[in-house]
């Protein structure tokens, strides 16, 4: 017996499967990215937990740490120094014109020094390290993952989180303030050179005028906030690398996402940290 015989067609449940399928696919389109995001954060949390658990256990991987300090620090130095130098020169050239218009040309050294130490030095250093070190770590660990080298480390009874992730994260944390100092130094030097080319000023006078209104806390907090940037770069790059899958294409994805995500989180952290610094070091 046909139970739908007297039901008008537009109320018939025959149409339901199609509409419910469309509903399901619409729900999936909304839910899947959210689910993916939650899954990513969940895996990141577990990764951080594994690294933290390994932190205080022997061996402390001193040899690998030194290698990574060299890899992150000294090998990034030329690029960071050049970026800092370029920013210093550009700042001096750009600010000079504006300050002349307002009759505040004498504030130029202070403007250059202040902006380099407070913002441009740390952020430019972080972004350069994101690009160079983040991509390097993402690709290296990604490649090790897809060729089962990380499995081989684990199979030989060695904690891969400690050997590979912990050492790279600590190297990023320790090297970031030093690299920032290098970028700051180069930026101030080129700022002075750019200024001197337009209107000669003695270096000691430039430095004296630049640091006149700057206290130690002005210098300390922004420099040490780069340790947080280092933490972010190290964690994100190692995490993206160690979860890599899908052959060489997967390695490429890991390297790219390591750079993109670490840059994104560095900029986000910068906003939060600047606010915190202004609260605690007004």
């Amino acid at each position: 017996m046909n139970t739908h015989a007297n039901v008008p067609r537009r109320y018939s449940t025959d149409a339901l499967p199609q509409s419910s399928a469309a509903l399901r696919s619409a729900a999936a389109a909304i839910w899947n990215p959210i689910n993916g995001l939650l899954e990513w954060f969940g895996e990141l949390g577990m990764f951080i937990w594994q690294v933290m658990r390994s932190t205080f256990r022997r061996p402390f991987e001193g040899r690998e740490l030194i290698r990574q300090l060299d890899e992150v620090g000294s090998k990034s130095l030329p690029m960071v120094a050049m970026a800092g130098a370029a920013i210093g020169a550009v700042l001096a050239l750009e600010s000079r014109h504006s300050l002349i218009q307002f009759g505040a040309k004498s504030l130029l050294p202070a403007a250059v020094v202040f902006s380099i130490i407070h913002e441009t030095g740390p952020v430019i250093t972080a972004l350069v390290v994101c690009g160079r070190v983040g991509a390097g770590i993402g690709a290296e660990l990604g490649s090790m993952k897809v060729t089962e080298q990380i499995d081989a480390i684990e199979a030989s009874g060695v904690n891969a989180y400690k050997l590979l992730a912990f050492t790279r994260i600590v190297a990023c944390i320790l090297m970031m303030p030093l690299l920032t100092l290098a970028a700051d130094f180069c930026g101030i030097i080129t700022g002075w050179i750019a200024n001197t080319l337009a209107e000669p000023i003695a270096f000691h006078k430039f430095i004296h005028a630049g640091f006149a209104g700057t206290g130690f806390s002005d210098f300390l907090a922004p420099t040490f906030r780069t340790m947080v940037f280092g933490l972010i770069i190290g964690v994100i790059a190692c995490f993206q690398g160690m979860r890599s899958q899908g052959g060489t294409e997967g390695v490429g994805r890991s390297a790219t996402s390591a750079v993109v995500l670490s840059s994104l989180f560095v900029m986000l952290a910068d906003v939060i940290l600047v606010k915190l610094i202004l609260v605690f070091f007004p």
Partner: protein, 285 residues
């Protein structure tokens, strides 16, 4: 079809030995304590019970049981994608099973902490299907890696041990080469030397003779037999090489659809009337 539980008592098969290969691997290690030293182990080296593993909808292992005693070698055969490599990864704890237990020398590992697992792994040697050599280290450094991590050998002792291990797989001339500079077969032999570095009491070998020429395959088989006899090493060998399985294995386990179709000696499997088994052995004959 013969279910695994009804498989006859294991008896090591008569094997033809090839020529003596390489230098013998000494049990008396120079300055280092073998990972399994001081242990009296009377029970089976590995016991796998009711092992289940799925990836999404795909069931890879479906209640697999396996027992390997000290000094025994079990060859695991089966079509590609039947979970042979997954079994090895589960046994060494690289992946967790969905259900079932794995006992290594009496210790349950499926719920072990990472630290406990790492202690157990020091007693095990694992040869990966594609060798998985560390590509930033030389051949010698690859083999020295576990020694540097887990022994207190001096650099000179380590170097001597590395030479000894590489000589045992016929790779003593390539100490300073990078993995990318040697062939796949050579990489596999270096991977085997690395797996043997800590004198493991358990060996898990994923296709040890795949991609090797017949002579080298024979030499690897000989090495496995030597380890079995001299050091009572328990091994699971995943292979597609029926000849190798015949030579090295005390028992052969044939996997199909996540479970053991049959378990027994090569001769028993060869005589089996089971359609899948005969199909499998037909090609070799």
């Amino acid at each position: 079809m013969m279910p695994p539980s009804q498989a006859p008592a294991v008896k090591p098969p008569e094997t033809k030995r090839g020529e003596k290969f390489g230098t013998p691997i000494s049990v008396k290690q120079i300055g280092a304590k073998p990972a399994n030293a001081g242990q009296t182990n009377t029970g089976p080296a590995m016991v796998v019970q009711g092992l289940h593993k799925s990836y999404g909808e795909q069931k890879v292992l479906n209640g697999l049981n396996l027992k390997v005693g000290s000094g025994q070698t079990v060859a695991v055969l089966g079509r590609s994608g039947t979970g042979k490599s997954v079994l090895l990864r589960l046994v060494i704890g690289l992946q967790k099973p969905d259900a079932g237990t794995i006992h290594i020398q009496g210790q349950e590992i499926t719920n072990a902490s990472l630290e406990e697992l790492n202690e157990i792994r020091k007693k095990m040697g694992f040869l990966f299907q594609h060798a998985a050599l560390y590509d930033s280290l030389t051949v010698a450094e690859n083999v020295a890696f576990p020694l540097r991590r887990h022994t207190e050998m001096t650099a000179a002792q380590r170097s001597e041990r590395v030479k000894e291990l590489l000589a045992s797989v016929g790779m003593e001339a390539d100490l300073q080469k990078m993995p990318s500079d040697i062939s796949g077969g050579m990489q596999k032999r270096v991977g085997l030397a690395r797996a043997l570095a800590l004198e493991p009491s358990i060996l898990l070998l994923d296709e040890p003779t795949a991609g090797l020429d017949p002579i080298t395959s024979g030499e690897i088989d000989e090495l496995i037999l030597k380890l079995q006899e001299e050091r009572e090493v328990a091994s699971i060998v995943v292979t597609h090489d029926l000849h190798s399985a015949k030579v090295i294995a005390d028992r052969i386990l044939l996997l199909h659809e996540g479970n053991a179709v049959i378990e027994g000696t090569y001769e028993e499997l060869e005589k089996s009337q089971d359609e899948f088994v005969t199909e499998f052995f037909k090609r070799d004959s």
